[in-house]
Each structure stands twice: as structure tokens, then as C-alpha cells.
């Protein structure tokens, strides 16, 4: 009888140990698979319209889609795959100066930023994952635009 008890106790111990190991393994695996692959952002969809790409986190995974080059500056159309938003960025080639940059969605939604003494500047976002947008800008005035992309 004592042997049977001992056997049952050992079996229970083994099962519970195996179960814990399996659970731990599962939780580690799920922790790996649920790690966020996108940056944390504080807006989505049309709710991103008019918001700052850096403050919302949208610029964390952003890249340039198109660039227009001028003698004293160049203008980039930026895109965030996480937020589905476009915005414009202008870079001075003459040091800190007055810059102007705007983003234009093809349906007419437009935002503009201008200000003095910057090496580069960027403007608010438009939600445009499926519709085209372009960026326009320059030093002191708008020198030109990227293509609509």
C-alpha cells in the first residue's frame, strides 16, 4: 500500500513538474511572439491628420518615399507604415535659416509649417495610405514639390 502511495505521489510530482515546465515554455514562447513589431503610436487613421509625427511616435519607423532637390535645400516626402501617414521634411543646405514645408493630400487636405533658424523642419501629417500626397517647401519660400506618391 505504501508503495502504491509512493508511486502515486511520484507520478503526481512528475506530472506537475512537467506541466510547470510546459507552461513556462509556453509563456516564454508567447512572450516572444507577442513582442510588438511596430512602434507605440498615439493616433490612428484620420485621427493622425494635423498631428506631429514625432510626438505621436509615427516617425519612429518612417522613411523617405520621394525627394525634390534644390540649390539651397531639399524636400522629402516621408511615410510612416505604422500610421499610414505622409508628411514633408525640408533640409537646409545653407545652415540654420527660415524654412517652409507643407504636405498636400491630393484631395486638398494641406498643412504648412514655417519658421526661422532651423537646419531642418517637418510638418504635420495627413493620413494617406491609399491616396497620393506630396511635399512642397524651401528656404524663405516654396522652391518646389515632390511628385504625388
Amino acid at each position: 500500500m505504501q508503495r502504491i502511495r509512493m508511486f502515486l505521489f511520484s507520478t503526481a510530482l512528475l506530472v506537475s513538474l512537467f506541466g510547470m515546465t510546459a507552461f513556462t515554455g509556453l509563456s516564454v514562447a508567447s512572450a516572444h511572439t507577442t513582442q510588438p513589431s511596430h512602434p507605440q503610436v498615439t493616433c490612428s487613421g484620420n485621427g493622425c491628420d494635423g498631428l506631429n509625427p514625432a510626438m505621436t511616435g509615427c516617425s519612429a519607423d518612417a522613411y523617405t518615399v520621394q525627394t525634390a532637390v534644390f540649390s539651397d535645400s531639399f524636400v522629402e516626402l516621408r511615410y510612416s507604415p505604422t500610421c499610414g501617414t505622409n508628411w514633408g521634411r525640408v533640409t537646409s543646405k545653407v545652415g540654420a535659416t527660415f524654412l517652409i514645408i507643407s504636405i498636400q493630400r491630393i484631395d486638398g487636405l494641406t498643412y504648412t509649417f514655417s519658421g526661422g533658424n532651423f537646419n531642418y523642419a517637418y510638418v504635420a501629417m495627413v493620413y494617406a495610405p491609399q491616396v497620393a500626397a506630396r511635399a512642397c517647401g524651401g528656404v524663405n519660400s516654396i522652391s518646389g514639390c515632390t511628385a504625388y506618391v
Binding site: 522613411y63 518615399v65 525627394t67 516621408r78 521634411r89 543646405k93 537646419n119 531642418y120 514639390c145 504625388y148
Partner: protein
């Protein structure tokens, strides 16, 4: 026995004499074949640091040139259906030789072109990786150091960086970040937010 020794010595002397006659020393009066002179022919390429003439000889005359204020910009291959798009937008700087060399250029596909662009082909020769920025990859090339004066190598804030430094940044498709649509390559470093 003595005779054999004398014969052997004579034979050895003869052999030594023969050997010296077929291997002329550099100071001997034997006429040497003229060594072929190596003339390095310049091959035009579309890479950072190339002379602007290379771009013109490969791409043809520029569609537009902006005068230097402060940068001279050449535009090549305009998109016939969109005046804002060019395949090549090229900024030149003055090299140590006083000539115009490519200090920064952009290659980008026109809207609708589906090719995959390979940005590694526009790097300067003998480039070694030197780090990454949020936007691109940094390299250092002794060739670029030979072409441009040290003061030409600066970052976006006009701070000096190591001479020979250049950066390569890829432009990606809006709906597909794995699709490379263009390249931006510049001497110095490009460090921006936003």
C-alpha cells in the same frame, strides 16, 4: 684517377659558365624586353565622387542645371509625364583637383516604374562600413578622401566628420518598405529627426 678528377672539374666549370650565360643579371649588358607601360583608362561610372563629366557621358546632357547658390544641381532624365520627377538629381562640389565632382545625388524611379533599385552600386570604391543612422548606412572610403578636401565632410549640422565618410539612404515604396525605389548618397553624414 687524377685525369678523371681534372675532367670532372672541367665539366663543373663548363656547367657553371653555361648557367651564368642564360640568367642575365640586371646590370649585364644584355638587352631586356621593354616592360609594357600601364596606362589607366578612366571608366565613367555613376558613383559618389565621380566627375560630373562621367554623369554627362553616361546620361547625356542634363535637362536642367541650377547655378551654385550654394550648390550647383544637375537634373537628368525628367519624367515626361511629371515635371517634378527626375531619375537623377545631382549636387556637385569642388574636388582637390579644382573640378566638379559628385558630392551628393539622388536616384529615384518615376511613378509606376516597378524595378527594384540596388543602392550598393553607387558607393565609392574601397568603402568599409562605419555604422548606421536612423535613415541609412555610413561608409568610409579612402578614394573619396583623395577626391574632396577634408572640409567637405560634414554632417547635417555642418559639424566635421572623418574625411572619406559617406552615407547611403534608400527610398522605399509607400505601401511596401521592402521595395527600394531610389537611393540618396552623400559625402558626410545625414542626421535628422522627423
Amino acid at each position: 684517377m687524377k685525369r678523371s678528377l681534372v675532367l670532372l672539374a672541367a665539366l663543373l666549370l663548363l656547367l657553371t659558365a653555361c648557367g651564368s650565360s642564360v640568367s642575365p643579371s640586371p646590370t649585364s649588358g644584355v638587352t631586356q624586353k621593354p616592360t609594357p607601360t600601364v596606362t589607366r583608362t578612366h571608366r565613367a561610372r555613376l558613383i559618389i565622387g565621380a566627375p560630373i563629366q562621367d554623369f554627362v557621358s553616361i546620361l547625356g546632357e542634363p535637362a536642367k542645371v541650377l547655378s551654385a547658390n550654394p550648390n550647383k544641381v544637375y537634373y537628368f532624365q525628367p519624367n515626361p509625364s511629371d515635371e517634378n520627377q527626375y531619375h537623377y538629381q545631382v549636387i556637385v562640389g569642388k574636388g582637390k583637383d579644382g573640378e566638379e565632382h559628385i558630392s551628393e545625388f539622388f536616384f529615384q524611379l518615376w511613378n509606376g516604374e516597378q524595378k527594384q533599385v540596388d543602392c550598393s552600386s553607387i558607393k565609392a570604391d574601397h568603402a568599409s562600413p562605419a555604422g548606421k543612422t536612423p535613415d541609412g548606412e555610413i561608409f568610409i572610403s579612402p578614394d573619396l578622401n583623395d577626391i574632396f578636401p577634408a572640409g567637405a565632410f560634414v554632417d547635417t549640422n555642418l559639424k566635421p566628420v572623418e574625411p572619406g565618410t559617406f552615407e547611403v539612404i534608400s527610398s522605399l515604396a509607400k505601401g511596401d518598405p521592402t521595395h527600394v525605389l531610389g537611393c540618396h548618397v552623400l559625402i558626410g553624414e545625414y542626421i535628422l529627426g522627423g
